[in-house]
Symmetry: C2
Subunit: 170 residues, 2 copies
Amino acid sequence: MSLRLALVGLLAEEPMSGYDLTKRFELTLANTWSAQHSQIYPELRKLVDEGLIVQTGDGPRGRKVYAATTAGLDAVRAWVTDGQTDHGVRNEGLLRSFFLWLLRPEEAARYLRAESEHWAGMRSRLEGCAPSTSSCRLVIEAGHRYYRMMEEWATWAADEVEAGALEPAG
Amino acid sequence: MSLRLALVGLLAEEPMSGYDLTKRFELTLANTWSAQHSQIYPELRKLVDEGLIVQTGDGPRGRKVYAATTAGLDAVRAWVTDGQTDHGVRNEGLLRSFFLWLLRPEEAARYLRAESEHWAGMRSRLEGCAPSTSSCRLVIEAGHRYYRMMEEWATWAADEVEAGALEPAG
DNA sequence: TGACGCATGTAATCCGTTACATGATTAT
DNA sequence: ATAATCATGTAACGGATTACATGCGTCA
C-alpha cells in the first residue's frame, strides 16, 4: 500500500521512469523506504491500469516516462492524512546489539565501532542529496538526525563496552 | 533469518514461552523489531526440530516453556558477528512526510504534531522497561535516543511548516 | 456467570527480495 | 571493441501480517 502511493507521490513532483524512481529510493529515500526495480516495474503497470498514473512519454532503450493523474494526486493526499500510520521499526543492527552480552567485550566493541562507521558513511552520502520539494527538505533533515543519532549511539555503546559495561551481566 | 536467531537469543536470557516472547517484542523490542505470535509459534517448532532450542517445561493452558541449547547459543554468536547486517530503513511516517507539500500547510502541521505526540508516547512507554541484560540496556538507550530524535524532528518540522516552509515549493 | 487475559495454533494473502533474463546506448 | 550504465521485465521464494479458530484460568 505504501509503495504504490509513494510512487504516485514521486511522480507528482515530476514525470519520471521506473529507472529514475529506483534511483530516488536508493538516494534521497534511503533513510525512509527501500524498493527494488523488480517491485517498482510491476507496480507501475498496476497504477496505470487503475488510472492513478499515465505514461506520458518514452525514450531510448525502451524508457517509459510516467506522470501522476488527478485521481492519483487525490489518492496520495488521502493516504497521507487518513488512517493509522504503521510506526513499526525494523533495525537489524540494533537487534543484533541486543545479544552482544553473549560475545567477548572486544568482539562486541568491534561490532559497535563498525556500526558507527556505517552510519557515518550513510550521513556523508546524504550530503550530496538536493531536496526536490519543501517537504523533501524536511525528510532529508530527518535522515541527517537519524544517521547522526545512530553514529553517536554506537560510539557511546562501544565506549561503554570497552569500559566494562558488558562484564557484570554477561 | 533474523527472527529465528533473535528468539534463540532471548531464550538464552531465560527460559520462556511463545506468549512471553510475543510480549517481549511488544515492549522492550518495540524500537528494534516486531513479531506477532502467528509468526513466533511456528518458528519455535522449527527451532526445536533443528535443535537450537528445547522445551524445558509446561504450564497451565497448554503453556510451553523453551530454553536455548548450546548449539543455539553458538548460532546466535555466529549470526551477530558474521556477515552483512541489513541496514535498510522503513519508516512509514517519514515516507508520508515526503508528500506533505501536496497538502494545505495547516493539514501538514497537524500531521506532524500528531507524529510528535506519537513518539513522545512511545518514549514514555519505554520508561517502564527494565533491562534484562547489559546489552539490553544499551538498546533501550538507543530507543530513547530514537524516540526523542523523532519527536524533536516532528516538532521542528511542524514549526517550519507553520512558519511557511511549505509555501514556496508547494 | 461473564469478562478479561493467558495461551496456542493455522490459513490466506500480501509484500519484498533474490535471481534470472534481455537488450540498447554511450563513453573510452 | 568492450565495459559501464541505462533500461525493462518475470519468476520463485521467503518473510510477515491479518484473519480465523479454539480453549483454559482467574477474578469480580
